[in-house]
Subunit: 440 residues, 2 copies
């Protein structure tokens, strides 16, 4: 629980320069040790979205273990004079000792939902700002898109295949976030290794083109991977490829993939021909530039599964969740908590430590109730949304690793099932339920 993991790269420089100079200036002023409460939240959802999905929480906790300043990090900070020697000494001993609470991974969220709160000294909490936001903003953007896509796909499984269209490490996180939010599998092997998620694959056009004929390519694939494999049909002529595929693999062929053209028309034609050849259990996977709208448009087509790439890993038009991390209250020298909020135009924060509870009418969510800081004492119905993730520096490991992903998958399915039907409309609209703030 919470021990420094040796042999892994430190995560402490995955941050902004100013986080460290603010630590220095607050150490100098004697304010670094004021207890502070920071909160990560979104002022709004991406335009038109009905809900967001929290993702990345487990990754934050995993990286918090390695958020230490070792010799390489300290040497860089010293040589480049980012901070002074007093601050270097403080960083050398740094270990997060505060408490982090928040929405558990996979939970849906709305504008103003207090997704993650960090209570610690100012210096400890401000150091984590950039890393927490990077993870939540990226992973939640992908998960929010994935949830819409898997919902549009209904009972048909979606596979994440976007690794090549995003940063190589973002690809691993995107695969993980997609699986949290309803995807059945990913093509990303590192996501399989780190998080135990199922990996899948078919083959590429290059594999067919490597061979002298398509027949030889299909024979090579089936000979090596078995008849349960998925053959790619659209390198040359789809009809001919389909006949060749069944000749080689027989009617037990696992599946075929279509990656271009009018997918709905082709899926109908391919299904008809597969059935006519007796390959009634051979599945059809489609994979060409899909998003939630394209998937919805294929509802009536005889498609068995979807492979989604670019639009998933780029958040389907919203590549960042636009979450912010704000100081909402801090203690004064007397140890009294003071709510704080900047007053510049156009940006307002609701100050104070918050409780959050989802209220229901029967089984359907009707309100995101946020107490500022407390909810009314007579509000005992609904579901408490805030869980302890780190208590006094001790990380709850059940939110991390493969276990964390599995739990988040189940949590997302449950949380999504509680939403009103309007939440699943793909057309632009308002948040599915209102966020109501309660001042006490």
């Amino acid at each position: 629980m919470g021990e420094l993991t040796t042999g892994r790269a430190a995560t402490s420089l995955l941050t902004d320069h100013y986080e460290l100079t603010m630590v220095q200036a607050s150490l100098h002023a004697g304010t670094a040790h004021r207890r502070s409460l920071f909160e990560a939240f979104g002022r709004r959802l991406p335009a038109g979205r009905r809900f967001g999905v929290v993702a990345g929480t487990g990754r934050i906790l995993e990286m918090l273990r390695d958020f230490r300043f070792g010799s390489a990090e300290l040497r860089f900070l010293e040589e480049t004079k980012v901070v002074d020697s007093t601050t270097l000494d403080w960083l050398r001993d740094f270990r997060f000792s505060g408490t982090i609470r928040g929405y558990a991974e996979g939970e849906v969220y709305f504008p103003g939902s207090p997704l993650l709160t960090v209570e610690s000294t100012f210096a400890e909490a401000v150091l984590l700002e950039t890393l927490i936001l990077s993870v939540l903003n990226h992973d939640s953007a992908v998960a929010s898109a994935a949830s819409r896509m898997s919902n549009a796909a209904g009972d048909r499984p979606c596979a994440e295949m976007g690794s090549r269209r995003t940063h190589e490490e973002a690809a691993v996180a995107a695969a993980r976030a997609a699986v949290v939010a309803g995807f059945a599998s990913t093509s990303n092997l590192e996501a399989g290794r780190r998080y135990g998620v199922r990996t899948i694959g078919t083959s590429a056009h290059s594999f067919t083109l490597l061979h002298d004929t398509e027949r030889q390519a299909f024979a090579a694939q089936v000979g090596s991977l078995g008849t349960d494999t998925i053959l790619l049909l659209d390198t040359y002529d789809v009809d001919e490829a389909l006949r060749t595929a069944i000749e080689i693999a027989g009617t037990d062929l696992g599946g075929v993939r279509l990656d271009s053209g009018d997918l709905a028309i082709q899926a109908h034609e391919v299904r008809e021909k597969l059935d006519a050849l007796g390959a009634v259990n051979t599945t059809i996977t489609v994979t060409s530039d899909l998003d939630e709208y394209a998937i919805a448009g294929l509802q009536a087509a005889p498609v068995d599964s979807y492979g989604v790439g670019t639009r998933l890993v780029t958040g389907s038009g919203a590549p960042t969740a636009s979450l912010v991390y704000k100081l909402v209250s801090r203690q004064d020298d007397g140890g009294q908590w003071v709510s704080v909020a900047k007053k510049a135009s156009g940006k307002s924060s609701t100050g104070g430590f918050k409780q959050a509870r989802r209220l229901y009418d029967g089984a359907i969510a009707i309100e995101e109730a946020v107490g500022v800081p407390n909810l009314p004492t007579d509000m005992t119905d609904g579901r408490d949304l805030t869980v302890d993730l780190v208590v006094d520096g001790v990380i709850d490991d059940s939110f991390t690793g493969a276990e964390g992903v599995r739990k988040a998958q189940h949590r997302h399915a449950t949380s999504k099932a509680e939403l009103p039907r309007s939440a699943h409309r793909l057309q632009d609209g308002e948040p599915a339920i209102p966020t109501v703030f309660y001042d006490d």
Copy 2:
């Protein structure tokens, strides 16, 4: 040169499942060892863009050093039965032994520019597909946006500040790509450590709010970081903050930052007041949701530098460069090269190994000449665009690390300066120069 770097994480599973099963099937069929030529290129630029910027090349070479299958990787592949034992044996010994040529990092590019070609056995080249595309697609998307932004900023420096709005490792790569494409600095410390780029920072609203008064916050910052620091003015009232800032730091105050409101109007007001107070050398940095259009809109405002976040790291509307990696030719069993191309509708590749040369009228580029495979022998003018990056498995380290970034910066400045003036219009348009394919 090209030795395996020990003590670093293997990069070999940052790839798609099907790359490995294609290796298996081609080993089984005896085709894995056919010499093959893959090419990374873009069919088109993002809508309306006049040029793209190649970025990430150095990172690909750095990760190629560690593209090895160690015990952890092999154990995962064995336990999950991704590939068979013959393939595991082949992967255990894997080390890229082929040749990679391409546009050097920082170079501008156009539709059809042959950005990176990999010549090796099929199995070696296909294994690298996902990693190469991940890096090029991400880094080039950011660099292409960064170039437009730094161009719109003219002589005023741009700082990259978007770490919190993208995946934590993508943030490091984004900072690097931004600097390649004209940005002066970044807030990302890890980018500073890895690539020697300049890091900078101001302070956040939370720092002001931590203190009992804005005056105490400014005094803390100036007391610790010196008068050369940048004070954030818009936590409460900008006018009052400005007066307080000069009272505390004197007229030697390094700079002020504005992060909200109408930046043009505020910049004029703040400049006037700073000058009136005698702080004529105090600079003004603006940072609120900037992109190339907002920067262009501030040309007439007395702004000294721009801090750009979200829109930069998300590629200013084009978060991926949409580059593809295609098999363009391969040898047959007799060792003869055969050009290959899939023939499905809507997607066409121009087959064959390619030369690329940029042609000029005086100092101005007028054509991207691409030979399929060769350019006309009498085409001796212009500039050869293709350089050797890896020769027979030996990596040219001068393209990697801090040195690689510095060279890429200079290369981009030179390459951009050669473009016709139309290239720098921000309005949507056609590629700045045409790509002409020469069949021999």
